[in-house]
Amino acid sequence: MPPRSDKLKNTEQELRIFRARALLALVVVVALTSLMVGRLAYLQVVQHDVYSTRSEKNRVRVEPLPPNRGLIYDRNGVLLAENRPTYNLTLVRERSENVDETLALLVELLELNDEETSTFYERSQQWQRPFQPVLLASDLSEEQIAQLAINRHRLPGVEVEAQLLRYYPDAEIMAHALGFVGRINAEEVENLDASRYAGTHFIGKTGVERFYEDDLHGQAGLRKVETNARGRVLRELGRTDPVPGKDLTLTLDKSLQMLAYELMDGRRGSIVALEPDSGEILAMVSTPGFDSNQFVTGIDRASYQELQENLNLPLFNRAIRGHYPPGSTIKPFLALGGLVDGAITPNTTINDPGYYQLPNDSRRYRNWLRWGHGRVDLERSLAVSNNTFYYSLAHEMGIDSLHEQMSNFGFGRRVAHDVQSESSGLMPSREWKRERFDQSWYPGETLSVGIGQGYWQITPLQLATATATLANRGQWVKPRMARKIGDTSLERDLPGTPDDINLAQDDWWDSVFSGMEKVISGSEGTARRTGEGLEYRMGGKSGTAQVFSLGQDQRYDADELEERLRDHALFMAFAPIEDPEIAVAVIVENAGGGSTHAAHLARAMTDEWLLDDEAPEVDEVRETLETDTSNVEGN
């Protein structure tokens, strides 16, 4: 710093400069003050109208108007999913003075128990866009609403909003087919179109609700409201109406679906029924079911845990995700595959000594009838479910051709149009085995596949679809759940439909059909008891899927085994043969032989669909099932 020059003259000059500058500053200050006063007066007096409007802006709020979710009907217009008016409790955190206090007061007012309280706090933590309401509780009781109304002034930011809540009248029966809606979770919030979902708290989580979410949801509207300083709505200033979601008409038939559910009688398994000509899924049941309404309002932890830990896996959709060895139910498809491949003709005949042996191999691949069926042709091979015929056929075809032919029927593929989370099952092949186990394919494995065992796994939907394609004489129609979206009908031919299956001669189909008819109506048929009193021509095939593989020449007694190690009972059928109207696949887990424990269910389904008069009462069918254990069948 320079040394201080302490001259009196300078000091006085400095004071003079300062005083001049300070005076100037005061002039500027006064001028600016006048400017401020003038500006404020201008705003308040001259532009009073503008100013008051602008001031009002602070009290005008834009509120989302969530659209009504589309309803879901069955093919006959019976309501399957509706919207029930309920009251929800929401909180806009930014409008609350003290979120913790507000939450504590709400817990007190709503008289929540400990568990509900913890859920409540969990929800209050959920991430939400600023100034968007967080759903804290749904389906409030009248008493709770009254309590909240009385204490409204203590709860800024809290709203009780009337909202339509999804309700499934026949929840247990429809749970797997329809799916359900649930609260939008944090992950979903990030991926959703915020403006479309403004004010919406629910989204399709599974099934049809999920697959057709876009159509069912609709478009949110807006309304401008004037509120008081506390955020309470005083009046509406304008609105854009929401666009409601489209109603959905499904292909399901509610009465057939109900019958299927009742036929299963609480056992584990699945029934899928299709209309072959249209590919429409008439019934798709997975049992046990569950109350999907619980998931809409938010299931409590204990109930959820119970559902998850239940050994019967009620939350598991067996119809589309259950993997089962198909057993003998695939023999008709193998026969057709052999016809396409040229490995057999309808006249091919073998002699069955009760087992099959590969060349240069001592191992005997057994027929289920130890002493053999003697002379067996194509039709008889189906009727008596002969294994030796199919060991031979499979060996002739080889795994590569077998894999190709079965894939053409949709095995190992996802073929449905609008079934959410459908599994592809497993159609084994050389490549698959190399990739999975890094091993080459053994000829013996081809034989196992030839009787629907080994690695081959199907889903009930796949079995029903393949049956429908067979009933169509090889013409493919994609299975579908939706009949109409809004007013638009779904086309019959959808993109991605597999290629049709063609036989050298069209009457070869009749040979296979005839064999399948004999399963039910023939004197030797494995399911001949099921065919008693049949009023139409029906083709079918039983199957018994081993849950685990038994060693060679080992015999077992089903009763001695744990119930869960018992065979799965399978049956596939279509009717009437001359003009098929329904194709059914039935799988009952751990029930035993398919001809005894599944065939009756298929018959009950076709009866219900084809006959005008009353189908046999469910109780009767059950009785038959319980008493009839005489008819024993092998693989």
């Binding site: 300062f18 500058r21 500053a25 200050v29």
Partner: protein
């Protein structure tokens, strides 16, 4: 004897007025406060509490919290006023140096709040915003420098002052806290202006600033540009309900006149100061105070773009009140000790 020392101090030693007649010091002189300024400030703070009471929806808790802040700020003012201006003169370079170091520290290890590094945190001890201190330290440093120069300042002195001002302002702007950096800059520039910066230089700087605006615009953050655009297009004004809504036009005019009185009294006290350092610092403090008022009211009424400047001693908040009243403490110290200073 300590007792004698204390009683003597309270009674006050006789001092000489300009007329040379010994006179007992008044109570105000003994506590080094200016009663007029203090009274005006108390009235202002009282009306501030009323506004807050109304704006917070009759919430006594909020008012009490603010009153406690005012109490702390007034204590700070009282304590600061007890130091002699010589103290400030001596310690200004030290405070300035520490401030710059802390700003550098903020840049390196500062706590990020609202997307900007403004806070210096010594865990468990203090959470401190160095830029707040610089609002007083920078103008005092400039004044201390100019006190040693012959006034009006020469070009060389101006360049030194520009460096003294530029370093902390750049650091604060880099946080980024453009609003505070501009306030610090204007507080310091006022010192230079009051010291007698030549009109030709003032004109030159104005031209430079105008031509530098496009460059500044390029370096602005998006939110800053948005504010300026908003200002130019008032239809999209994002202003929320302000204090003006609570007191009405009459109330606002009274409030503005109150500020005018405080500024006038402050300028008077500044020009009464017998020493250049005191004058420059006092003038800067009081004019900066006015800048706060003008920026806030100008912003609310749409004369100026929106920046986060609180309305002094009326808006809710603690840090700004303390800084302001510490400033007034310095102002009062300069006034009350004027006879103790060398000319």
């Amino acid at each position: 004897m300590p007792w004698q020392a204390i009683t003597q101090s309270l009674r006050g030693r006789p001092v000489r007025t300009s007329g040379g007649i010994p006179k007992r010091r008044s109570i105000w002189e003994r506590i080094h406060l200016d009663p007029w300024l203090l009274g005006l400030l108390l009235v202002l703070m009282g009306s501030g509490l009323l506004v807050i009471y109304s704006a917070s929806g009759q919430s006594m808790n909020v008012v009490i919290a603010q009153a406690i802040r005012f109490g702390v700020a007034l204590m700070a003012m009282l304590i600061v006023a007890q130091f002699s201006p010589i103290f400030f003169l001596r310690w200004a370079p030290v405070a300035y140096g520490i401030g710059v170091l802390m700003l550098v520290a903020v840049e390196l290890v500062g706590d990020v709040g609202m997307g900007a590094q403004r806070w210096l945190v010594i865990p468990g001890v203090i959470r401190f915003q160095p830029s707040e201190m610089m609002k007083l330290a920078v103008p005092m440093m400039v004044a201390a420098y100019l006190y040693r120069c012959e006034l009006p300042p020469k070009l060389k002195d101006i360049v030194v002052c520009a460096l003294i001002i530029g370093l902390p302002v750049a650091l604060i702007a880099a946080q980024p806290d453009l609003g505070t950096s501009l306030l610090v800059a204007s507080a310091a520039i006022i010192v230079v202006l009051l010291a007698g910066l030549s009109w030709r230089l003032i004109g030159l700087v104005c031209v430079l600033l105008a031509s530098g605006f496009p460059l500044l615009w390029m370096n602005l953050h998006n939110y800053q540009r948005q504010r300026i655009l908003t200002f130019l297009n008032p239809d999209t004004d994002p202003l929320g309900s302000g204090w003006g809504e609570e007191v009405g036009l009459i109330g606002m005019v009274i409030l503005i006149l109150l500020y005018l009185l405080i500024v006038s009294r402050g300028l008077w006290l500044a020009s009464e100061s017998q020493n250049t350092f005191g004058r420059l610092v006092a003038g800067s403090i009081i004019l900066t105070f006015f800048i706060y008022v003008f920026v806030n009211i100008g912003m609310v009424s749409g004369i100026l773009p929106v920046v986060g400047v609180p309305l002094p001693l009326v808006s809710y908040g603690g840090t700004s009140s303390v800084t302001l009243l510490v400033g007034f403490g310095i102002l009062m110290s300069i006034h009350a000790h004027r006879r103790l200073l060398p000319r």
